[in-house]
């Protein structure tokens, strides 16, 4: 495993008014990985990312980014990180080009470097042809791509993405992820992201942390987390009787549980894809044939439910998206 590039120790945030948003969390993020912080609205995701990117001051505790303390050396931290905020941050009255180069100047980069990088980044995210158009004419997906390119102008070691695909349609979300993965490969960055889209954390996160009520409940690789709370399930129909195969199936090493309901055998196994050939040959060995077989693997939602006792999908899809919509409408009106 790579070295830890983000070290968080007992980080705590209490807002004025006494709201405990983040409650003594500690974890590490390794160099080069995509680390996803997953949780519902109000869980403390944005507060955590805010303290790590130095826009919020921790009430207690410490965090280091590439060896620099967010408390004592915030300027050093800022110069080696890139931030893509949850809300759109580009200036709508300026063009895409003016926005990205402005950010370059704020990092103190030389003019030539800024021009070269801005050109390269805007080409990568497919905005070069509209670079001289005002941002107010951009669509949601275009704005998000601009934000991401703006977050990369200083070639950051760590990129913070706060809900990078919030409020975007499925196709645009997939495209954004395409860009993120390409940029990560090109620049060899560590990516720290927050999301409430479980399938994104599952598909793209090297490791996932689940946060709720300001506390981290569990951290691990998505597959490990899923395996830790539940097994894969095989649904099988055989040519003969259930009783003839039950004995042989329950002796197989990966099989944890065998049940028979509605003419179908349900088997809980440790790792579905590797268990299938074993199960099939065991059934064949007692002279039976497999008529039908399907595999169901647990999703992160089940992991989430296991640790928090509620489904993330139901609760946040409505709230956060309504919030994002309201924000968009407000901007449109202003």
């Amino acid at each position: 495993m790579n070295e830890a590039i983000i070290k968080v120790n007992n980080l705590t945030k209490i807002y004025s008014g006494g709201v405990l948003a983040v409650d003594h969390i500690s974890f590490e993020v390794y160099e080069g990985e995509i680390f996803a912080l997953l949780g519902p609205n109000g869980a403390g995701k944005s507060t955590t990312i805010g303290m790590l990117n130095t826009s919020l001051k921790p009430t207690q505790g410490e965090a280091e980014i590439a060896g620099y303390s967010v408390n004592r050396e915030p300027s050093k931290v800022r110069s080696i990180i890139g931030v893509v905020p949850q809300e759109f941050s580009a200036d709508e009255d300026l063009t895409g080009w003016e926005n990205i180069t402005l950010i370059g100047y704020l990092y103190g980069l030389p003019k030539e470097v800024i021009k070269q990088r801005a050109t390269e980044l805007l080409q990568t995210v497919g905005l070069y042809s509209v670079k001289d158009k005002k941002v107010e004419t951009y669509s949601g997906g275009m704005r998000r791509r601009l934000e991401i390119s703006m977050g990369l102008i200083n070639r950051p070691k760590v990129l913070f993405l706060d809900e990078p695909t919030l409020g975007l349609d499925v196709q645009t979300r997939a495209a954004i992820w395409g860009y993120i993965l390409k940029l990560k490969k090109d620049y060899n960055m560590t990516i720290f992201l927050t999301t409430h889209y479980l399938e994104e954390a599952d598909a793209y996160g090297d490791r996932v942390a689940i946060i709720d009520h300001g506390k981290i409940l569990v951290i691990g690789k998505p597959d490990e987390l899923k395996r830790s709370v539940t097994w894969d399930t095989l649904f099988i129909e055989v040519s003969g009787s259930y009783d003839s195969v039950r004995q042989v199936l329950s002796t197989l090493p990966p099989v944890k549980e065998v049940n028979f309901t509605d003419g179908q055998i349900t088997i809980k196994v440790i790792d579905g894809p590797t268990a299938i050939p074993l199960v099939v040959s065991a059934i064949n060995s007692v002279g039976q044939e497999v008529r039908r077989l399907s595999l169901s693997r647990p999703s992160l939602d089940e992991v989430y439910m296991y640790y928090t006792g509620k489904s993330l999908r139901e609760e946040s899809a409505s709230k956060e998206e309504a919030f994002a919509l309201r924000r968009t409408l407000r901007r449109a009106r202003s």
Binding site: S79, S89, I103, L106, Y107
Partner: protein, 290 residues
Amino acid sequence: MSEGRLSPLHGLWALTNRELKKWYKEPVILLLSLVQPILWIGIFGKAMNFANMFNSASLEIPGLTIPKQVIDEIGSLVLKQTFGTTDYFSFLAVGMLSFIVLFTSMSSGMTIVWDRRLGFLGKLLTTPVPRGSIIVSKVIASIVKSLVQATIILLIGILLGLRFSFSIMAPVAFLITYLSLFLLSFGFSSLFLMLALRSTRWETQMAIMNLLNMPLLFSSNSFYPISSMPWWLKPVALANPLTYANAISRWALLGITPSVNVLLSLVYLVGFAVIFTVLGIYLSWRYLSL
């Protein structure tokens, strides 16, 4: 990647340029912001013409006829004694310069509220740009806007009949006038940015502006001299920076002898600008956040 040592002023020009770009790319807003002072000069300045009070051909008091010449003489003397000039329109038009500077500088606070509301400030705060640069860029932009607007008002004033009576060489007179307006804008921009540092609602900022603009204007010598104020208003007027900017401009451009020494007035304005700017930068380091 970190790019060596950053100068404490890096990003200042880029941010100032952004503010100004947003302004000159929207000429409609520039024109709208000129409407109010133009109305003041055009309507108030032309209609509220004190010289007209003494325009009667002659006054008929029973048993006594006062010839027009005498009335004219008395009129000039009264105006001269009250305003320091017989030309009230010019008196008001020069006063309007500080008026437009005040109004333009006041709105600097709004830009920080908008930047916060639209997420731009949040992004700024995650870059290594010094917090002081964020404030100073807004102050500089606000000064540039103020002085451009003041120049437009000055030109309109001349078109409508403003007559100069320089007390020193004309170029020096303009230089001193602009210096006083520059200092006035410096101080007021910093003051109103400071008030907006933590503000998240533009309504609050508007309320502050509305609360302060008229009292600041009417407790200064913009429309009438301090000598004609009631005793309790005089100390307020003497604390009001507008009073000093007006006194300096009227002395330089119209030859009106100020009630306070010109040099002391300049010193007062320098103090006003420096104190609020230093305070503004200090507070922005401490309190500028999301």
